[in-house]
Symmetry: C2
Subunit: 151 residues, 2 copies
DNA sequence: GCTTGACCTGGAGTCCGCTCCAGGTCGCAG
DNA sequence: CTGCGACCTGGAGCGGACTCCAGGTCAAGC
């Protein structure tokens, strides 16, 4: 069983992190110091890649680097930190859920606006073409009559 | 019908934008120059607040300021820009949907990890308390055997 | 009239998360 | 042995989105 390893470039391709970011994360202690070849080059193992995949979950869900670092530290500190890790992840999970909810709500408002615009277009195309290019549509005025208050 | 107006502080409280941010957005042309009192103070009207509510939808769904500015400009340029506005918003909507999808997927992976940890805890509490604090749990090693590859 | 707090301006400063750079090494192909 | 491309380091630079500051004005209450 030859323990295959990957260069930083390969890992970059696999994980989507840029080469610079991989080195940056390592400096920050977000990744354990990666094994090196004789010539000093990084040799990532499968576990490293697995960890990076998880880090990408954290990052892509908006966890700040500092908190990821804390989490990494907990992982390094041994199994007795598992409860804390759960707390940290669960708290993050809640934030992500809340974030998703915000996105859904606000996206709905955006879609609503699109529909309003499409209504405007349908109306315009249906009856008389282009009635005065500069109507009472000054940024907020025009459509606010339709949507006004309500985030 | 007295057209009520709001001070920058009131609008800040209502919209959630900080006072500084409100002024900043106005400077950038993201909001039309707001009406002023004799003494030079901003007096926001309901339409302004409505527009800000919509801006918060764009911002909170991650639209960069520059694109918001473009959108604001289209709104100012008159009704003939409605198709472009729709395009801009629709494109943004797609990105937001994609983003939500990413969040869901990655959140699922995080939950999976939490469950794994809870399994570890249940196991540990069930049979023999704390078996060696510094096991083979060096950051990625331990749990990678469980989750390994797969973002 | 005086105090106090909210407001004004232009510009500088901050924080985050990378990203780029210079100057040097490694190692494989030809 | 010579390229050449991928890699190394420490540190500087960048883009985005605010946030803060100094120094001044305004307006309502006492």
């Amino acid at each position: 069983m030859s323990t295959t390893t990957y260069s930083v470039g390969e890992v970059s391709a696999r994980t989507g992190f840029s080469v610079d970011t991989l080195r940056y994360y390592e400096r920050l202690g977000l990744i354990e110091p990666v094994e090196r070849s004789v010539g000093g080059r990084r040799m990532y193992r499968d576990e490293d890649v697995g960890w990076l995949d998880f880090v990408s979950c954290l990052r892509d869900t908006g966890m700040p680097i500092e908190r990821m670092r804390e989490f990494a530290e907990l992982c390094r500190d041994g199994e007795h930190t598992v409860p804390e890790r759960v707390d940290l992840l669960a708290a993050h999970g809640q934030r992500v859920e809340a974030e998703i909810e915000v996105l859904r709500t606000k996206l709905a408002a955006i879609r609503h606006k699109i529909e309003y615009y499409e209504g405007v277009l349908a109306l315009r195309d249906g009856q008389g073409p282009d009635q005065g290019s500069t109507g009472q549509d000054g940024q907020q005025a025009g459509e606010s009559s339709e949507e006004g208050r309500r985030a």
